[in-house]
């Protein structure tokens, strides 16, 4: 069995985890279409060390793992707040003017 070192739960069987994709920067909401297309569809699909989201299903815990996709070796795992340090304030969109 392959073991994933979870930052919260310690070493667990990898079947308890779900893969969540590469860690990417979210484009600015007002960016152009090509930037969104790149973000939504196009993949870096790197053959090498990649920073990825992983999820421990039983404890509903998201974290970040660094993994070499050529050898399937998990090099490092850490909580997401080591990367995402600042709180993101999503400003609520202005309410549309009431129709008359």
């Amino acid at each position: 069995m392959k073991i994933m070192p979870c930052p919260l739960n310690g070493e667990r069987n990898i079947s308890e985890f779900a893969y969540g994709g590469e860690v990417l920067d979210l484009p600015a909401p007002d960016c152009d279409d090509e930037t969104w297309i790149d973000f939504v569809y196009l993949e870096n699909n790197t053959a090498g060390v990649v920073r990825e989201w992983w999820y421990h299903t039983p404890t509903a815990y998201w974290f970040i793992a660094e993994r070499d996709t050529r050898t399937d070796e998990i090099l490092k795992t850490y909580p997401a707040n080591e990367v995402f340090k600042d709180r993101v304030d999503f400003a609520a969109p202005e309410a549309p003017a009431a129709k008359e």
Partner: protein
């Protein structure tokens, strides 16, 4: 009728014919360079030479011919897809497959078995009916059979109600077939080589010569390899697994994830299972090869790696479901296991046609559904390279569809979950 066997039987010395000619040096320049010597690349070379008379063609293969996913799939050929685009395309491929053994004068062991996609829930029955109607509308033999009739047609399965997923019916596709996959690559390779195409094995592409305009890539003019640089009129990439790595050398990104797909065969058994049986809910597909081995596969791995390793998780999951379907095979041993690296697209349809680089074409994104499409890909790629126009049947699969938000949504792609 293929006469090779008769000729061989009557020959005096029983000579072993050489499938591919001896290696030659790379020429300085080729009209067309095909990157990847798998089924798709070799078929493209074959139809370029056979249909269009273009023979100044090189096929560059990093390893050996047919050593990638062409020799790693579970050899199922069918056309009962879900979208009209998919059905039309794969039906052309099935039609070409039927004549291939004659074209090559080589036994491909093409064997029509009937393909059954099992339905275990009401919603699956609805989807099967939908697929059957799309198929019939497109002129494909495809129908929904319910449990009692299915039990008469495929009595080998476990029809007990006392299982996790009782069988309720199946989508039946009579032309569903299996074939000897290596022979398809060898047949295309030998046919192309006979007509003058150069097939260079152990030749790895390391980069492309691409002219630039205003800093962005414009036109491909040459190919760098580990054996030197060659000039190329046109280039087509026909690789799998490493598609993103190759396109990266050409300077553009693809909507692909490289994810392994594992498969295995059992020890040989006396023939007992004629049908090809697939179950989406159970994530299995199984058929019995002409050697008697049960060829089994399941869904892709849960995450991507650039490796062809096998895992215990996969076999445990697959065998659990196989035991539900065929409970009497519990004592049977596994003989071989392997994996292939698949290119998964977000909409389970391939990527074919033009790219952002002029004269650089692509045939990628073949995920878990590439073997059955080998002949039609070769034929249409050749037509595209010869005429410079993208044939109508492959236009829906253009890379540009991701930029136009026109995805194809081919959920019938591999019958099992991804």
């Amino acid at each position: 009728m293929p006469l090779a066997l008769l000729k061989y039987g009557l020959s005096k010395g029983h000579p072993v014919p050489r499938a591919l000619p001896a290696e030659t040096d790379l020429k300085d320049s080729y009209d067309i360079v095909i990157v990847g010597g798998g089924g798709h690349g070799l078929a493209t070379a074959y139809y370029l030479a056979a249909d269009h008379g273009i023979t100044n063609v090189a096929v560059l293969e990093k390893g050996y011919v047919g050593g990638g996913n062409t020799g790693r799939n579970t050899t199922i050929i069918r056309s009962n897809y879900l979208t009209p685009e998919g059905v039309k395309f794969y039906d052309e491929s099935v039609t070409l497959y039927k004549d291939l053994a004659n074209d090559f004068d080589m036994n491909l062991m093409y064997s029509e078995r009937g393909h059954f996609t099992l339905a275990h829930t009401d919603s699956a029955i609805r989807t099967m009916r939908w697929r059957a109607e799309v198929n019939k509308h497109m002129g494909i033999e495809s129908e929904l059979v319910l449990r009692d009739e299915l039990q008469r047609m495929v009595p080998e399965l476990n029809y007990s109600e006392d299982v996790r997923y009782p069988i309720m019916g199946a989508l039946y596709h009579a032309p569903g077939a299996i074939a000897r996959h290596d022979a398809v690559a060898w047949g295309y390779g030998a046919g192309a080589a006979k007509r003058g195409v150069h097939i260079h094995q152990n030749t790895e592409v390391t980069g492309f010569e691409i002219t630039k305009a205003n800093g962005s890539p414009q036109r491909v003019t040459g190919v760098h390899t580990n054996r030197g640089t060659i000039k190329a009129g046109k280039v087509i990439q026909c690789v799998a697994g490493m598609s993103g790595v190759v396109s990266d050398m050409a300077g553009f990104k693809l909507p692909l994830k490289t994810i392994p797909l594992q498969a295995c065969v059992s020890q040989p058994l006396k023939p007992f299972l004629d049908a090809i049986v697939v179950s989406g809910s159970l994530h299995v597909y199984v058929s019995q090869s002409s050697r008697g081995e049960l060829v089994m596969g399941g869904s892709t791995d849960p995450y991507g790696v650039y490796m062809t390793r096998s895992t215990l998780d996969f076999k445990e999951g697959l065998m659990m479901h196989m035991m539900e379907l065929l409970p009497y095979i519990g004592e049977v041993k596994l003989l071989r296991q392997w994996a292939g690296m698949t290119d998964m697209t977000p909409d389970f349809a391939p990527i074919m046609g033009e790219t952002p680089v002029d004269d650089y074409y692509i045939d990628a994104g073949w995920g878990t559904w590439g073997f059955k499409a080998t002949p039609v890909c070769g034929k249409r790629n050749a037509e595209m390279l010869a005429t410079g126009k993208v044939p109508e049947t492959i236009q829906p699969f253009a890379l540009q569809r991701f930029h136009d938000f026109k995805l194809v949504g081919e959920k019938g792609a591999a019958s099992v979950g991804h």
